[in-house]
Symmetry: C4
Subunit: 180 residues, 4 copies
C-alpha cells in the first residue's frame, strides 16, 4: 500500500478558488514525494507545497487560465501566511530558474497585504521575466471570510504536504507487556 508511480486512479483534484473583477486565484495542495528506504518503509524525498495560481479576467465571468502565473508556497511560507495579523503584510520572492543556467533571469514575487479597513488582504503575484521580456502582475482582493477558509484548509493540509499525515496510517507499534 505504500506507493505507486504513475497510477492516476486514486488522484484527487480539488482547489479553493476566488473569482474577482480583475483576476482569479486558485489554491490546491501538492503532496510531498517519497523514496524507499532499504530497511523498509519510505522517507520524504521532497516536501510538498500549496500551489497558488492567478489568471486574468478577460470577460464577464471568464478567466484565461492559459495565461496563468503560479507561485508554489513552501511549508515555511505557509507558516508565514498562517501567522499573518489582520493589519500585516508579507512578501515572498522566488527564482524559478534557481540552480540552472537561467538563474536570476526570472523573478517572481508574491505579496499578501492587509487592506486599509482590515477586512481582508490583497494577494498579488508579480513576474519579471528577463528572457521573454514579460512583466506581469495580477492582484486578487481576498475577504476575511475567504482568508479564513485558506487559513483553516492550509492548516489542515500542512501535515499532508510535510508528509506527516502518513504517520497515522502506520499500524500501532506493539510491545510485549513486560518489555521496556
Amino acid at each position: 500500500t505504500v506507493g505507486q508511480k504513475g497510477n492516476n486512479a486514486d488522484r484527487i483534484y480539488a482547489a479553493y478558488s476566488v473569482y474577482k473583477g480583475k483576476a482569479a486565484l486558485s489554491a490546491h495542495p501538492v503532496p510531498a514525494t517519497f523514496s524507499k528506504v532499504d530497511s523498509g518503509g519510505v522517507k520524504v524525498k521532497r516536501q510538498g507545497y500549496i500551489m497558488l495560481s492567478f489568471s486574468p479576467c478577460v470577460g464577464e465571468r471568464k478567466y484565461d487560465w492559459q495565461r496563468k502565473q503560479v507561485f508554489a508556497l513552501s511549508v515555511t511560507e505557509v507558516g508565514s501566511l498562517l501567522t499573518l495579523g489582520p493589519n500585516s503584510s508579507v512578501d515572498f520572492f522566488h527564482d524559478p530558474a534557481i540552480q540552472t543556467s537561467n538563474a536570476g533571469q526570472v523573478r517572481k514575487g508574491l505579496s499578501i497585504k492587509a487592506n486599509s479597513e482590515g477586512t481582508g488582504y490583497f494577494f498579488s503575484i508579480n513576474v519579471a521575466n528577463n528572457i521573454t521580456k514579460v512583466n506581469e502582475r495580477f492582484t486578487v482582493p481576498v475577504t476575511s471570510a475567504e482568508f479564513a477558509v485558506m487559513r483553516t484548509s492550509f492548516s489542515s493540509v500542512l501535515p499532508h504536504i510535510m508528509g506527516w499525515d502518513r504517520y497515522s496510517y502506520q499500524p500501532p507499534v506493539l510491545k510485549e507487556e513486560n518489555s521496556v
Copy 2:
C-alpha cells in the same frame, strides 16, 4: 475505491442539534460531489456545504421538522462564521430559485448576531416566499459553548466539504532516489 453512485451502505448521518424554547437548529455537513477525470482520478464537480435546518417548537420538547426551513452554508460562508468576533454579526442572503424561472421570488436570509452580553449568538432564518405568500422566521439562541462546538466541528469538516480531506487517502507519491 474512488466512488460509487447510489450505494447507501456506507452513508453516515450525524448532526449537531440545539433545542430551545421557540425553535431548534440542526447542522450537518454535505460532502462535495466529484466527476471522473479522463486521465484517471476524480475532481471536485461541486463543493459541499453545511446544512442548517430550523424547526419550530410545537409543544413541550416537540419540534415540527415537516415545517423546517433550511440554509446551505457555502465554504466561504463557513469561513465567515469561523471568524465571527464575540460582539459581531453577519448576514447571508440566498435565492434558492436562482438561475430558474422563479429567480427573485424566494428570499432566504440567515443572520448570526451576538447577544448583548457577549455570551452567545442568535441564529435566525427568515424566508419570504412570494409564490406561496409564506413569510417565516425562526430564531434560536446559541450559547458560547454551543458556538464553540460549531466552530470546532465546522473547522474540522471544512476540508471534507471542500474535497480536500481526500488528499490524505492518495497513496504516497514515490520517486526514485536519484531522480529530480
Copy 3:
C-alpha cells in the same frame, strides 16, 4: 465495514492522565453509538462524550482507582471547556440517576476554575450521594501546559464523539459530468 457488535479486536484504550499530590485525573473519549438506517448506512443514536475519572492518592505514586468518581462531559460541555478563558471558571451539574426512580438522589458537580496566578486550573469533582450517604470531593491542579494538551486533544476528538469523523470514510459521491 460499517459496524460490529461485541468485537473488541479493534478497540483502542488510550487516556491522558495527570497525577498530583492529592488526586489523579484521567480523560479518554467514548465514541458515539450508531443504529442502522433502513435505506442503508448508519445514523448517530447517541452522541459520545469525554470521560473524566478522578481517583485519590493513597500513598507515594499510588492512586486508588477502585474509589474513582467519573464525570461524562457531553459534546456541548466540551465546547465550554474549549472556550474557557485564562481567568475564568465553569461548573457542570449532572444527575446520573436522571429519569429513573432514584432521580435527585445523586448530585455530581464538576468545577473547572482558574487559579489565582492564571497559570492553570483546578479540576474538582464533587459527588453527593443521598442513597449511600457518601459525599466525596477530589481536586486536581492542572497546569497551563496540561490544559493545552486537553484543549488540543479534546478539539481533535470532538468530531469523533459527535460521529462527524466518519464522514471522511464515505467514498466520494460521483456525479456524471453533465448532470446537475
Copy 4:
C-alpha cells in the same frame, strides 16, 4: 490490522528541519507504543513524543548529524510549546539516565526563548555529561513562520503521539434501534 512487531514496510520517515548559520534543528514525531489487552484490542503502553535533534554546522551547508544531541518532548512538554506566548520562554530539563545507576550524571536542558523583537524564538539544547566530561550547547534561531509550522504540525500530530488518533479507526459502535 491492529499491530505488528518489526515490520518496517509501512514505516514513514518525515521530519521538519530548519538549517541556520551555527546549527540545524530537526523535529519528527515518535508514536505511542501499545500492548494487547486480554479481552481484545490494545492499550497505550507508553506515550510517544516529538524528537528534536540538533546538529552543528561544520561548513557551508554542511551539518554533522553524528554529533547530534536529541531531546524528546513529552506530550505535556508539547502542550507547553503550544501555549508559549510571543514574548515568553520555557525551559525543560531531562535526565536521560533516570532510574539507572547513572542517574544524575547527565543533564539535558532545552530552552525556548523569545527573541527581543518578538519575531521568533531561540531553541537551545545544553548537555552536561559528567561521565564523558562533554558539555555541548547548540542554538538555532527559529522565525515566527517556522514556529507556526511547528505549532500547527505538533498540534496535528499530538493525538498520534498520545494514541488518540487510533480512536477514529475503530468501526462504529452499533446498537439496536430500541436498545438503550
